[in-house]
Symmetry: C2
Subunit: 208 residues, 2 copies
DNA sequence: AAGAAAACCTAATGCCAGTAGGGAAGTCAA
DNA sequence: TTGACTTCCCTACTGGCATTAGGTTTTCTT
């Protein structure tokens, strides 16, 4: 049963390839990923990579999935605390999301933009991001129940507006100051205000 | 003085190349632009393109400039009307901007994202976009003077928040429904609400 | 130690961006 | 009209890319 020795080695190689791909994309742009360059850095000839991924798109897909999973992991601890003070938890969770995006600009671009011609994530890679949207909706719902938001904030339109708002902050940060630190990011710093703005817009009517 | 006959022909060719490039990018993605494919469609061999543009990046640069100029043209008639009712004019101008972005997704991606590895607009191509930002600021300033916004709305932070907000709407629309019509765009439809949200956040204090 | 499976290789195909250098055609001055 | 000059477009080429085909070495199991 030491068949999984091989399997472990294999998974290590897969991860090394993905890490290297991120490195290359950080230097040459997301759409500038080159199988040949990855191979060079991993210390292997280009065709050998095809033992691990059937195409360059498959690497993008695996990284998209990693991005979705990591950003879900970032939010998880917050979603567990929603019972407390939903608004405060949402603000904190959002700050954490933005911080993650800035620390992982390559993955964030893959999630928030469409930087690679002809790349569309497979449903399997995409699926966790649907769950992510549900997490967001239930967070807003919790704020509604706590009397911190009007009911419409958690309907389709409200959720869309929220995502536009925060993806705008991330998008502007990535486009204009791609390599800033979180605290100094001219746009990232606006995260708290952005969420406040949303809460004020959807403030519950007095006396209900 | 019929030297400009040649010059006119030349400019026509330049424009034809740019139009074709947009066409190719619309089909194969912004980063998927191929000189060879453009040449094929224009009816010429690839090296001939280098008579008109010294490199592929020069085409991106020219298109970036075109994008900035066109979106400035869209806004111009509104900025002339700022004296009336600034808020209404800002809303209308913003709707027009979003409509332009959806009608010109390729140029919009060039302006709002960073889709091409190693492409950074030259200062000359970028410069009009600085002016654009000033137009926005003075529009917000006008709303401040009309008592429709608090003074902070027109400071650096306020302007940044505004741009994040609307670029978020455009960004989400481009990423998720790239080929929708304006009216049906799930995110584009939020433009009015987004601007309202901004105005409510920066509502002037009562009695001042 | 033998044999199977996995990992890696070389060689090749058909793309691409960009360069070098040459020939045809338009333009201008006389 | 002729000759010189310029512009335009071409073929040929270089070096890079993703990917496929098919063979060789390494590794693990029995």
């Amino acid at each position: 049963m030491r068949e999984d020795r091989r399997l472990r080695r294999r998974n290590e190689t897969v991860q090394e390839i993905l890490d290297t791909a991120i490195e290359v994309m950080a230097e040459d742009g997301v759409a500038g990923l080159s199988m040949a360059e990855v191979a060079r850095r991993v210390g292997v000839r280009p065709p050998s990579l095809y033992q691990y991924f059937p195409s360059k798109m498959a690497i993008y897909d695996a990284l998209f999935e990693r991005g979705v999973r990591e950003s879900a992991d970032v939010l998880e601890p917050y979603s567990a605390r929603l019972a407390e003070d939903p608004r405060a938890v949402i603000v904190a969770g959002q700050q954490a999301s933005v911080a993650w995006a800035m620390a992982n600009p390559v993955l964030a671009q893959l999630l928030y933009w469409r930087p690679v011609p002809n790349f569309e994530p497979t449903p399997q890679a995409y699926e966790p991001s649907v769950r992510l949207l549900e997490v967001l909706r239930s967070a807003l719902q919790a704020a509604v129940h706590a009397g911190q938001l009007a009911a419409e904030a958690a309907d389709d339109e409200g959720v869309a507006l929220y995502t536009a708002l925060v993806s705008g902050v991330i998008s502007q940060q990535l486009a204009n100051e791609p390599s800033a630190q979180v605290e100094e990011g001219r746009f990232a710093r606006l995260t708290g205000m952005a969420v406040d703005m949303f809460f004020r817009y959807y403030a519950p009517r007095e006396g209900e």
